[in-house]
Symmetry: C2
Subunit: 193 residues, 2 copies
DNA sequence: CGCCAGGTATACAGGTCGGTATACGAAGCG
DNA sequence: CGCTTCGTATACCGACCTGTATACCTGGCG
């Protein structure tokens, strides 16, 4: 039979998308496989044919979670600031109730959980991206600057989950500017104030 | 009979402390009332005599969760920086696996949950504290500075949950210094670099 | 003393959990 | 054609969940 999802995607992807939505909104533990099956219009048996266990389904769903995209072109410092601008759009998503990575980590207490490993690699990538861009921008200590930008990013993701806080990303961007200007060897600022 | 906890505290407090430990470590949903009762050496019936429902127990446990303390004396700017120093101690706690408020919020998806309301008031208090100290320090826009400090605090709490990240609080403190110096009307910096 | 609030122990109701078993139907492909 | 694969539907397992019921025991107090 080999079904496909409504959008024509492979059925495993479709299941993961449905699961991502439910898990993110209501919590990984609160949502059972039964409910995922019902929502997807499939049977539990079918889900277990595509995923060995619920934990693997969780990991697969996390791969489909919305991500902040990072600018792929432009001057290094502008790309960094652009990441915070895209973060703002991300937070403006009506359904945002907190960073998916934070939420999943909060519920998956076992550090060896497959989803936790996915998160770790993502975090490491983000850090490296910041470091490389900072280095390109000519800051004296890219490692430290990356640590700072990382913290701002996490802070905005966390603060943005609060009710009525729509300015977190803007605040973070403003501070990122401050950090970059402070970190440049001297002379002219990297980015205009 | 009127029991008391091992430390002589009222039994309801004792129960809440035991629950706080379990809920924080393993998750609110993953821990059942049975397990709280067993760990406390009591029966489930006794727990339900002191708490109307599990949700109320959750709220009570959150009240006992470890908190970052804020310096109560000193120059305003020093107090702010001192808060980040105390945050560092807080994160160094061996059992730290993320900010309790974030973890609870992640699992309690209902915004009307009693524990969620507790969190909101705490967050509001922290913001007000930053704003008042910033105002005392003579910054030109205390509201904005408070927003920035808040974001740094959240960022450190979130970043600190990552494996092997022990410098988050120091990074946040360094950036707090930067923010304060940048926000002062001009002339001499508020705090030494 | 006798009463009774506040414990104990045990059991149960009604539900959901992750995961599996069984039996059947319908497509794709040699 | 017939076989295999992938889906359906349904039912079940054992474990755990929140919350309550029942019956008994025990310390404190008037």
């Amino acid at each position: 039979m080999r079904l496909r999802g409504p959008a024509g995607q492979p059925i495993a992807d479709y299941i993961a998308e449905v699961a991502a939505d439910l898990f993110y909104r209501d919590g990984v533990h609160a949502v059972g496989v039964d409910r995922v099956a019902d929502t997807a219009g499939l049977t539990k048996r079918t889900i277990y044919r595509h995923f060995r266990s619920k934990d693997e389904l969780i990991a697969a769903s996390l791969r489909r979670a919305p991500r902040v995209r990072f600018p792929s072109s432009g001057a290094p410092a502008e790309r960094i600031l652009g990441a915070f601008a895209l973060l703002e759009q991300f937070l403006a998503g009506t359904k945002y109730r907190g960073c998916p990575y934070i939420i999943y980590t909060a519920e998956l207490t076992d550090p060896g959980h497959p989803a936790r490993r996915l998160i770790e690699t993502y975090i490491a990538k983000r850090r490296a991206w910041f470091r490389d861009r900072a280095a390109e921008a000519g800051v004296s200590d890219p490692e430290t600057v990356a640590e700072e930008l990382d913290l701002l990013f996490d802070g905005a993701l966390a603060s943005g989950a609060k009710r009525g806080n729509l300015v977190a990303a803007q605040t973070a961007q403003r501070m990122a500017r401050l950090v970059l200007n402070a970190a440049v060897p001297a002379r002219a600022p990297v980015v205009a104030a």
